[in-house]
């Protein structure tokens, strides 16, 4: 798992100097390529926060609400 993690970091590092021009962004600008969760995923994220001991690192809510039911 650790090797995979460092491989991804290395991959990002190696590629970060590559600049993709605006006219080449047709694929990364596709709605399905968004790096945030879908709006309709918010309710699933809510129940994960309630039912699981961990939360966060997904651009979502990280606190507030008792989550006790």
């Amino acid at each position: 798992m650790q090797k995979l993690f460092w491989f991804i970091i290395l991959l990002i590092g190696l590629n970060s100097c590559v600049v993709v021009r605006e006219y080449d962004k047709v694929y990364v600008n596709d709605e399905e390529m968004q790096l945030s969760a879908r709006p309709c995923e918010r309710f699933e994220t809510n129940f994960h926060i309630y039912r699981e001991a961990s939360a966060g690192a997904n651009g979502g809510k990280t606190g507030g609400g008792c989550g006790c039911n």
Binding site: I8, L11, I12, N15, S16, V18, V19, V20, R21, E22, D24, K25, V26, Y27, V28, D30, E31, E32, M33, Q34, L35, R38, P39, C40, E41, R42, F43, E44, N46, F47, H48, Y50, R51, E52, A53, S54, A55, G56, A57, N58, G59, T62, G63, G64, G65, C66, C68, N69
Partner: protein, 414 residues
Amino acid sequence: MMAGMGWSQQSNTSYKRRVLEASEVDLLFSYYNQDGQNAAVTGGEGTEELTDATSSIVLRMPMNEDDILTVDVGLSAYTSASSSNVNPLDGGVDVSPFDASSGESRKDVLAYINPTYEHSSDDRNTIWSANGYFSSEYDYVSIGFGGSFTKLFNEKNTEITLSGRVFLDKWNSQYPIELRNGFFDDRITGNGTYQPIFSEFENENRNSYSLSLSFSQILTPKLQGALFMDVVSQNGLLSTPFQRVYFSDFEDFFIDEFQLADNVEQLPESRFKLPVGGRLNYYLNDLVILRSYYRFYWDDWGVQSHTASLEAPIKLTDKFTLFPTYRYYTQTAADYFYPKEEALSTFEFYTSDYDLSDYDAHQYGMGVQYKDIFTSARVLSFGLKTINLRFSQYDRSDGLNAFIVTLGTTFVGN
């Protein structure tokens, strides 16, 4: 002078593209249902039955060329065994932890509002935002605020966001009925006298502070990824006041089949959480896109978890997309977790909440999206842009099962 005025007028008419061209409205609805046999309200044994219906409206309005105001409001109405078995005596004739009481305590409504104001710089490379949050339910009020700062550079190939949020929450503690002052019931059975070691919580505040850092990078014309890290600190009343605990060194007392609490859970007044995650999305071809996510989580209560998910949107036509999803989750137990009647009364901290136990979970889902970029279907002055319908089944290794159905629509104003 006339020439100067002419120049001034001409420069004022230069076109600047709006960050958001028109108002958008999201109407979201979800129905959630769960069941299991390890309810925390009845000390780790009892029904976890719960249903929740939530409706939200998210309104995004362009305030000018650079600014957007988003207002997110919602209502969540739930019926749960957790709530009902705070007082299992207010419902039916027979009292059991495996039946939800039919009394009024079984249901509640959570209402919330979450406004956000966002400003983008002229070159669209700098974005800041400020947000607020307020939610209220019968036994809990949450007030939050925060802000974020985003910088794009490297020809918008790289994006870094730093954000912070604060939640100042307050409990209106509801304790199990048998632990409240003045409780008496002549149906109590057991050896000796029922003497729990309960005392009410003095501090009912719960504060949460989070600092988040995200870094996203376009890696190739078809591949982009992001890394996220949150640092979260919580303090105050982190126990849930109505969650019962039964000790192994105490006699058992009952009303019918319902065992009376020895105490409520006792958890530390601080918690430090450190989740680190990443997303990697790949445009495989015009038919399929791969969306992956992984998160590692650690906290100082002894919980470590791994979350991995994969979604593969399949573009059936220009308008219809299917998105099958799979999510795997595993966590270790908190240091303070004990199954029913395994904790000793001499311990400082204990809980029988199976959400803090050792388990893994599988979630399978399928969604379908209809998208009409021309917004030809209209409601008043708004055009229908997308409809999303999504179903997910969640199975936990401790026996808790749940499903959720979500319907989302987006309308665009003219």
